[in-house]
Amino acid sequence: MNTKKNKMSGADIFFECLKREGVEYIFGYPGGAVLPIYEKLYDIDFLKHILVRHEQGATHMAEGYSRATGKVGVVLVTSGPGATNTVTGITNAYMDSVPIVVFTGQVPTHLIGNDAFQEADICGITRPITKHNFLVRDISELASTIHQAFYIASTGRPGPVVVDLPKNVMNSITEFNYPDKIELRGYKPKVFGHQNQIKKAAMMLQKAKRPLLYVGGGVIMSGGNRELYLLAKENNLPVTMTLQGLGAFPGTDPQSLGMLGMHGTYWANQAVNHCDLLISLGARFDDRVTGKIETFARNAYKIHVDIDPTCIDKNVVVDLPIVGDVKHVMAELASEITRKPDLDEWWEQINKWKSECPLEYDMSDGRLRAQFVIEKLSELTKGEAVVVTDVGQNQMWTAQYYKFNHPRSHITSGGLGTMGFALPASIGVAFAVKDRPVISISGDGGFQMNIQELVTAVYYKLPIKIILLNNSFLGMVRQWQELFHAEKYSFTDLSDGNPDFVKVAEAFGVKAYSTDSPHNVEHLLREILDYNDGPVMVEFKVAKEDMVFPIVPAGASISDMIIRRLDPKEMV
């Protein structure tokens, strides 16, 4: 009798595993191949299934949820088109190292390879865009595979894992055996950095006259913001952050130089150019940060702390690599420092750069500017909101003008640059974050990609504040066309095709406002921040020819930064 009691179906085992992994939410969409799972799901109450409107949306939601909480995001979709629709979201999570587990249905094992209805080789398709993937061919492997999937996704350098579940495996029956321990002989992520390397780093730091911390998303992912704060504060070190690093160190702190790189602040990029010691913490020397590799921080010794050895010496050859969890390494590094460096001169120089060339925009013609909206939003929310951005100008202006004070508060598609990310990702965030406002910022281009997820936000009554920065253009592309492509505004003008966004939102059941006047900004922002009965949107019609400055042209040296649009008179 007892042994019979232990026998479970594949679908039962699936949920038992999710329960043990502590899964709270699944973002999913049903279909033929996952019917056995959805049949069980009907009676499951320990987790909540969120019905999305497109599988891409589900992956972005899982990513938003994961990035807001640090937990693993979970997606469940059917085979074939359900699986292939997740590809963009999986790639996005891969590029930004976000732990999500995507369960895809698959046709029964005896039909695999037969071009069966809704069959797609999703393991083959996702091999280069996942940290790892599995096809469960036998029910005996199911429990251990799910356990491994969560372990691989969430440890080391995190990343997406796909688990492909053939329908017959979900229907077959076996004894349930959950492995307590995971033994993967080919996977042993390193946590602690090499002692001697850390000692050397401490020595280099104590000798440095112009040190700079270059902080990436790895610090947030490892939960090392406290260690970073102590290391920077105790030694009076300047901190510059990458797009994904924003929030790792308080943006309102005077030691924060803001973002570096292509659209980074003048003073952060000058600091990179002139520093004599650059300590990279959980960042990967991305081309959007370095510009021309040969001239990047050329006067500096470089220390690179990263959990992924492949990141080291990949783009920039460094002088001292430390492989390990950046949280631990920072704590150990701080404890090794006995003599604080004297940085008064260095700070004087940085502050001089700061006053020479602050971030600025011109609103003297009375038209509304996106920068003004973001600046006001930052003021009104005191940097306490979780802000999810799309890709393009809206993203860069948010990175420049919103002062993030907390980690896991700036959620954006960095590596892949996926338009249509903000709305679904903010939905995932809204399930996790209840005590702070969740704000989704998009342009008019990206908002129309994945706009279907407005339904999901309305259905689950999520109090997301949607800010639509409508310049009737694919603004970032337009900017590059103006600067680098002979002002040929080729297919970037959306003004004739754009819908009435207020009507669209209202049709979905979203309360919506619109304005083109700077005078209405504060009052409308207050209005949406106070609104708690489901999602609310405000469309800001902003100047269409506005550009994000400063900009370092792609592949150019940081010192070739363009600070502002030249006056026609100056161009002569």
């Binding site: 091999r127 790892h132 096809l135 691989i152 993967l184 080919g186 050895p309 080291i312 990949k314």
Partner: protein
């Protein structure tokens, strides 16, 4: 510069594909690749011959290590090693040239493995430069077909245990217990 990388990988569905996908996704070149089971049937050994500057090779080794299904990666290029490749080669012959071809085969310590009225098939093993030399000498007779296995290597001398004890597969542990 040519490098020979020896990779111990899980003998699992998709593991080989993962390695090859990594090479193509990162734009690295594969000169030759061979794979086969080892003394532990849960582990396969892949021998990959690739070309690149030191920086590229370093990345290749790191990227291979990063895959979950790879257990151990060794750059064998500068290690004391035995390196072999097997070639099957079919050469056409006329009256009078057959014995000459067989002589050449003997010089290369190969075997004649097939013959008919017009062609003769030889099996030659050795390091790749020996195989190249054999091809050069046989060329004038008229080569019909060549199949090369790709390089395999093993390190010379008594081996320290390849895998730390705790990574040994259950299969081996069970076999060990039986002894």
């Amino acid at each position: 510069m040519m490098h020979i990388i020896s990779a111990l990988v899980e003998n699992k569905f998709g593991a080989f594909n993962r390695v090859v996908t990594m090479f193509s996704a990162k734009g690295y070149n594969i000169h030759s690749i061979s794979i086969g089971e080892t003394e532990d049937p849960t582990v396969s050994r892949m021998t990959i011959v690739t070309e690149g500057e030191d920086k590229v090779i370093e990345q290749i080794v790191k990227q291979l290590n990063r895959l979950i299904d790879t257990i151990k990666i060794i750059d064998m290029t500068n290690q004391p090693k035995v390196q072999r490749e097997l070639m099957l080669i079919t050469v056409s012959y006329q009256k009078g040239t057959r014995s000459e071809i067989i002589d050449i085969c003997e010089i290369f310590r190969g075997n004649v493995v097939d013959i008919n009225n017009r062609t003769i098939m030889l099996e030659i093993t050795g390091p790749p430069d020996k195989i190249d030399a054999a091809i050069n000498v046989l060329e004038p007779f008229g080569i019909k077909e060549i199949a090369r296995s790709g390089t395999v290597v093993l390190r010379r001398g008594e081996q320290i245990r390849k895998l730390p004890k705790e990574y040994e597969s259950d299969h081996k542990k069970i076999n060990g217990d039986k002894k």
